[in-house]
Subunit: 217 residues, 2 copies
DNA sequence: TAAAAAAACAGGAAAAACCCTGTGTATTTT
DNA sequence: AAAATACACAGGGTTTTTCCTGTTTTTTTA
């Protein structure tokens, strides 16, 4: 709350036009005020440091450069648990939804949500502490029926980064440079992942990543 | 222009939140007014029919369901050439830019444009009739150096079969065997397709095939 | 804090992918 | 019928990928 008794909001999204537009929309809602915007997680961390009054709600995009939504959420949960975070995304990937909720997000909505629904979500997250849309509850219910998390191979951060870049025209050498690792280390990732997934070559990895939505086209 | 001497604008985008937010932003600009929004091309066609005053500018998203940006632009050029269209997209794919300009768009910008730049674009498209950002001019200049950037590359039967198999773990040698051709012939297909599409390697081809729906996962 | 596990890294080698130039033979165009 | 075009194919070269078997360093765990 600010001194006008308004609920204060921060927007974290690298798409300037969207962020600025969303700011206008939210400011048009009764009782809500956007107090600042950040381009990504690091930017948010920096801006929160220099504030005397923390925002009540953070609208957090998932796909961002530098520091993505997941890591940002993790940091927020650890350092500012009182701030309610609503995750924002382009796609309704259930894994994304569940992961964000697991990390501590209080809600999740798509960017094609109706403005009226966004307003309701903001009101609800203040009044009840969370906003679970039908999509979110569906994701949670479905997760109950899916057991055997062993069947889903897990990848650590570097591996995921490697896989994403393997789905491009970069050579392994170039990937190593981008990751600031030795080509031999990257080759180790490749070898390990191939073995775990039973793959023959890089095309197999690309197809695996796409089929399992590790990477969006 | 409406009776308040404002430049009238229509927004065509299937992302409700973005469209509504953008409306607020544009309405906050001096001399501009969003008069309606549409979700996709068909919706736009329908809404234009029932209007007495056409909008001066249409902000047109490219990625939309039902009727996409390209087809919508084509229809607009044919039926309402006086309306200035600014294309809106998430990515700076040069092919997209060139295709939209070819279809008659007066400008092209990314969704992460700065709000101030958007305002300038709107002013410029009214004053000069077009808005060519640095990105757009770059795309045009680059197109001069590329030999005929085929908007829709065509593939014959063998090439399509090759592409499909290239999206698997088969080696080229194995693909050649399956196609009952010499490995050298298959290598010729590869070489030719790489050149036509400007690809560096097989992963690039896989991504191209999937992006252009030459192959379904 | 010592042992175990995980991560980063290397040398080396075979296979595959990539890329160039060029030939013969159909097929189509003029 | 001659010319242009498209197609199947080769020789031969470089680069990249793939796949071994290791060592060293860092992190985790007992």
């Amino acid at each position: 709350m600010n001194n006008l008794n308004e609920t204060t909001i921060a927007i974290v999204d690298d798409h300037l036009l969207f962020a600025s537009s969303l700011e206008k929309l939210i400011n048009s809602f009764q009782g809500f005020r956007v107090i600042f915007k950040a381009q990504h997680g690091l930017d948010l961390k920096d801006k929160l440091k220099h504030l005397t009054h923390l925002p009540d709600i953070i609208l957090l995009d998932i796909n961002m450069p530098v520091m993505n939504g997941f890591d940002t959420q993790k940091w927020l949960t650890a350092n500012h648990p009182s701030i309610r975070v609503l995750a924002l995304s382009m796609d309704d990937n259930e894994m994304f939804i569940l992961r964000m909720l697991k990390e501590g997000a209080k809600g999740y909505f798509l960017k094609d949500i109706h403005p009226k629904d966004l307003e309701n979500a903001l009101i609800e997250v203040i009044e009840r502490g969370f906003y679970y849309s039908e999509m979110v509850t569906n994701a949670m219910v479905n997760s109950l029926y899916e057991e055997a998390p062993d069947l889903e191979p897990e990848f650590n951060k570097n591996e995921l980064q490697f896989i994403e870049m393997a789905c491009s025209e970069l050579t392994y050498k170039e990937i190593a440079e981008k990751m600031m690792l030795s080509p031999k280390t990257v080759d180790g990732y490749r070898r390990d992942i191939f073995k775990r997934l039973g793959l023959r070559n890089r095309v197999g990895l690309v197809m695996y990543a796409l089929r399992n939505k590790l990477f969006k086209i």
